[in-house]
């Protein structure tokens, strides 16, 4: 195609119809972006429409809508990046941004693509129009009903706060090789937060659900489980104590304990840190980095899961990448820049928070494959340690390898049995050491459906994680004591 309209057969016509972004506009922008001799350029158009509705004091009394529209323009010269964006999709404003990004280069003009070619991609979630609008006639009674059910479930419940979110993000990515890709990414989230009071004491708990699915995601079984989890765990807090401090064996329950992988190895495998030589895993490719029990994948193709992506934010198809296979490091997480640097294919991990940011290697759904043991067997193997169930935020020091994550609830293990409930304790360890100390892996892999967001250099992207029950033979527990 020389100029004029984008092919009508593909949904990328959305940006043409809504905002007048034609093939001609794209050629002009790419041509401006390459005018100083960049060797690669891409355009990232984004239109996000999000709706949020909230309940407090048994009334649905808050709501908001957000529209986030704009284009990000990136120019590469070798490993160097020029980046600019424009919220306005007027040609003049976009050309200005293209000129700014172009300035990273300082040679003669490079040639823009002659043809634009759409890419077809496999889909891992319903794509069109799921959350363009939130059906209030359905959502409002749903929230009120949830509030009533949470209060009826336990007389200790004093406060219920609910937050519901539905959004649709449409992205069009065109690069200087002439490839263009379009995706429409739905996201919904529901968060419940309760406070209970018993005598003079109060305890609070949260639970969230998130997916790239339609309203049908909130089926009865899932809602029932959410309510029972949040009330039961909050009630347990009244009897929970901080565990003792120091090094001990820790059993991580199946599901959201995947935060161990996210922090202990996931970030360290993001190829930008390795390209720069600053990750502790920088010289570990093909080497043993974990015990042979451990196989870790990062996948963008789990049906409807929060971290799934049909395409990444550089237009590469979402895919499943084996990071660690039976303890051996097999791949980093790549974006376009790092794949080019390492002469490998991109892994579909080039992601960004919005058009305001250049993409970076980021995780999607990161999980460990199941092993041969059972949960009972693993707990039975520990004479004195912790069993951790719900988790909060984590962090990692990429170069030193030290990672940390917060445990909200769990139990003490004494002589192979779960005993007293525990709460509010930070775990800290060293990634490479802990991965070698994973001595048992169970057969009960669960992918977590909570609304995890991964932060890096100030950018947040939706992710998920998962893990079977595992035993880490030694972790430092920030409890009370000595």
């Amino acid at each position: 195609m020389q100029s004029g309209s984008l092919p009508q057969s593909v949904p990328s016509a959305y940006f043409e119809k809504q905002f007048g972004i034609t093939g001609e506009t794209i050629r002009k922008l790419l041509s401006e972006a390459l005018s100083k001799g960049g060797d690669y350029a891409d355009l990232y158009f984004q239109h996000l429409v999000a709706t949020h509705v909230g309940l407090e004091d048994s009334s649905v009394n808050r709501a908001s809508k957000k529209i986030d529209l704009g284009v990000g323009i990136r120019v590469l010269v070798g490993d160097q990046t020029g980046y600019a964006f424009s919220e306005s999709l007027e040609l003049g404003a976009m050309l200005g941004a293209a000129r700014t990004a172009a300035a990273i280069a300082s040679a003669g003009a490079a040639v823009p693509p002659k043809r634009l070619e759409g890419r077809t991609i496999p889909r891992h979630y319903e794509s069109e129009g799921v959350w363009d609008a939130v059906n209030l006639e359905r959502v409002l009674p749903f929230l009120s009903d949830l509030d009533v059910r949470a209060r009826e479930r336990d007389s200790l419940v004093r406060k219920v706060i609910l937050s519901f979110h539905g959004s649709q993000k449409r992205i069009l990515i065109v690069d200087s090789q002439g490839r263009f890709s379009f995706d429409c990414q739905p996201m919904t989230q529901l968060q419940i937060s309760i406070t209970m009071k018993k005598g003079g004491e109060k305890q609070s708990g949260n639970h969230s659900l998130a997916a790239r699915r339609d309203f049908g995601f909130y089926g009865e079984a899932r809602i029932e489980k959410m309510l029972s989890c949040v009330t039961e765990r909050t009630r347990n807090l009244f009897d929970a104590k901080k565990p003792p401090s120091g090094e001990m064996p820790v059993v991580l329950g199946a599901g959201s304990s995947g935060i161990l992988l996210h922090e202990a190895i996931g970030h360290g495998l993001e190829a930008d840190f390795n390209r720069k030589g600053t990750s502790i895993f920088a010289e570990s490719m093909g080497k043993e980095v974990a015990s042979p029990e451990v196989t870790v994948v990062d996948s963008g193709i789990e049906e409807g899961l929060r971290g799934s992506i049909n395409i990444d934010d550089e237009g590469n198809p979402g895919q499943k990448t084996v990071l660690v296979e039976k303890g051996v490091l097999r791949s980093y997480l790549h974006d376009h820049l790092s794949a080019r640097h390492y002469h490998v294919s991109p892994t579909g991990n080039g992601r960004r928070q919005s058009f305001r940011h250049a993409p970076m290697p980021r995780m999607r759904n990161t999980y460990m494959l199941p092993g041969p043991h059972t949960q009972e067997e693993i707990i039975g193997n520990v004479s004195r340690g912790l069993y951790c169930i719900t988790f909060g935020n984590g962090a990692v020091d990429i170069g030193g390898g030290d990672y940390t994550f917060y445990v909200k609830t769990g139990f003490l293990i004494e002589d192979g049995k779960l005993t007293a409930p525990i709460k509010d304790v930070n775990l800290i360890g060293n990634g490479p050491e802990s991965l070698r100390q994973i001595s048992m892996v169970a057969d009960d892999l669960q992918l977590d459906e909570s609304s995890w967001a991964c932060g890096k250099e100030g950018q947040f992207v939706p992710v998920s994680l998962g893990q079977p029950t595992v035993l880490v033979s030694k972790v430092t527990v920030g409890g009370v004591g000595p």
Binding site: N61, S64, I67, Y83, E247, G478
Partner: protein, 439 residues
């Protein structure tokens, strides 16, 4: 503020009112941002943007909602106002919603906050690039097993305009400049510790010497070599000025009106009571000259006032905005902190260290969290051993834990070194007898 954006705000307000809203607040903002990153002597990344956005809150028959957009085409805004009106009418009424009482807009300060540098537009790319290279030169003047040096120079100029249908109108304009050097070094055991040093200012001429900033980053990174873990114990700690604010965040976070109303605060019903030692004073000072959090009015339009949140250990004021003020039946103060100042003591961090016979100097916190309802906290720590009043081996992979209802009573001394590069000006803090966990 640009005339077009102001007009757009006014037009949005009028449209909402004529569509049936009883009250409306609109705010618009625009920002120019430039960031330049140099890695190992080569320009790695330039980012530059002009951005703008509009947001508004509608109040219709006791119902309310808030909306944000970056699509400033009038047709699109008009559509959003209609959508917003219809969304709002579906909600349950809430008598506490509504704009602030105009009384709260009165006596707005007009002093010069010093937060705008008129020379910002004259700063050119060459100067920024020279700064970034100077940071690296400084970093490499310190010798050691350096793997990589990344330096970043960024600056921004922002303007905002706020308009309320009951008589509030305000504008704010500010600039800020930042520089940062991050240095990765090679340890003998394969670890690659990284540390950084950053500095920022409201006006360009306030930035410190880039050579010294770069050099500090390398010194910090080299000091991390040979990290050890100590046994769990109860000990004295000094929270360095880079780390102190992070722990204090968990305390200040639950002073917010919403946390109190939701009973997710360990400070409920503590006004007038002792929440820390006599060394613990905390002032919210919106009028601080050249402060990163300085302002003449807050998000509700409430005129800025300096007030103590904590005074010699006694909780004096919460951070309560208009809405949760009505919910709680209390007069609002402000829904968010501006500049938080913990008044400095008279000892340098070196003197504080000399006063501790055995303990830890904590330079960074890592991850961790707190239970806002009960006050329990547990966080990762990175720092140094203190042995006989001197800095000893670097420590890491350890935790600090306790309860905020107890911790601040253990504050025994405050340094003379408030962290200058944040709206939170918190000096180094000394606590006695707190729990750390390690081997």
């Amino acid at each position: 503020m640009n005339r077009d954006l102001k007009n757009l705000a006014q037009q949005t307000l009028e449209t909402a009112l004529s569509s049936g809203a009883h009250e409306v607040a609109v705010w618009v903002s625009k920002k120019r941002f430039i960031s330049l990153e140099v890695r190992d002597g080569q320009l790695d990344k330039i980012q530059e943007s002009f951005s703008s956005g509009l947001a508004f809150s509608l109040y219709v028959d006791g119902r309310s909602s808030t909306h944000h957009t970056s699509d400033l085409r009038w047709d699109s805004l008009r559509w959003l106002v209609d959508e917003a009106m219809s969304l709002t009418r579906h909600l349950d009424p809430d008598p506490c919603k509504g704009l602030a009482d105009p009384e709260l807009y009165r006596d707005r300060p007009a002093n010069d906050l010093g937060i705008y540098d008129g020379g910002h537009e004259d700063l050119d790319t060459q100067t920024r690039l020279e700064l970034a290279h100077a940071l690296e030169t400084g970093a490499r003047e310190v010798t050691g097993p350096i793997i990589s040096v990344t330096t970043n120079v960024s600056d921004s100029m922002g303007e905002s305009y706020r308009l309320h249908s009951n008589g509030f109108e305000g504008t704010r304009r500010s600039t800020s400049y930042w520089m940062n050097a991050s240095v990765s070094v090679q340890d003998l055991d394969g670890r690659k510790p990284m540390d950084w040093h950053m500095a920022g200012a409201r006006v360009f001429s306030d930035l410190p010497d880039p050579i010294s900033v770069g050099a500090s980053a390398t010194k910090r990174a080299l000091a991390r070599l040979g990290q050890v873990r100590l046994p769990s114990s109860k000990t004295a700690i000094i929270l360095g000025n880079r780390a102190a604010g992070h722990l204090l965040e968990q305390f200040v976070g639950v002073m917010a009106g919403y946390a109190l109303y939701r009973e997710r605060s360990f400070l409920v019903n503590m006004q007038g009571k002792q929440v820390g030692s006599s060394h613990f004073t905390l002032c919210d000072d919106p009028l601080l000259y050249r402060g990163f959090g300085s302002r003449h009015y807050d998000r509700d339009g409430i005129s800025a006032r300096c007030r103590n949140l904590v005074e010699k250990g006694i909780l004096k004021n919460y951070l309560i905005g208009v809405y949760y003020g009505r919910k709680l039946g209390r007069p609002p103060t402000s829904g968010s902190a501006s500049n938080l100042v913990l008044p400095p003591g008279d000892k340098s961090s070196r003197e504080l260290i000399a006063g501790v016979s055995h303990g830890l100097f904590i330079d960074k916190l890592m991850g961790g969290n707190a239970n806002s309802t009960a006050g329990d906290f547990s966080v990762g720590i990175v720092g140094f051993e203190i042995d006989q009043g001197r800095i000893g081996r670097p420590i890491g992979e350890m935790n600090l834990s306790g309860n905020h209802k107890d911790l601040w009573h253990r504050l025994v001394a405050v340094g003379n070194d408030p962290y200058p590069y944040s709206s939170w000006r918190i000096p180094s803090l000394v606590f006695e007898n707190v729990s750390i966990s390690g081997t």
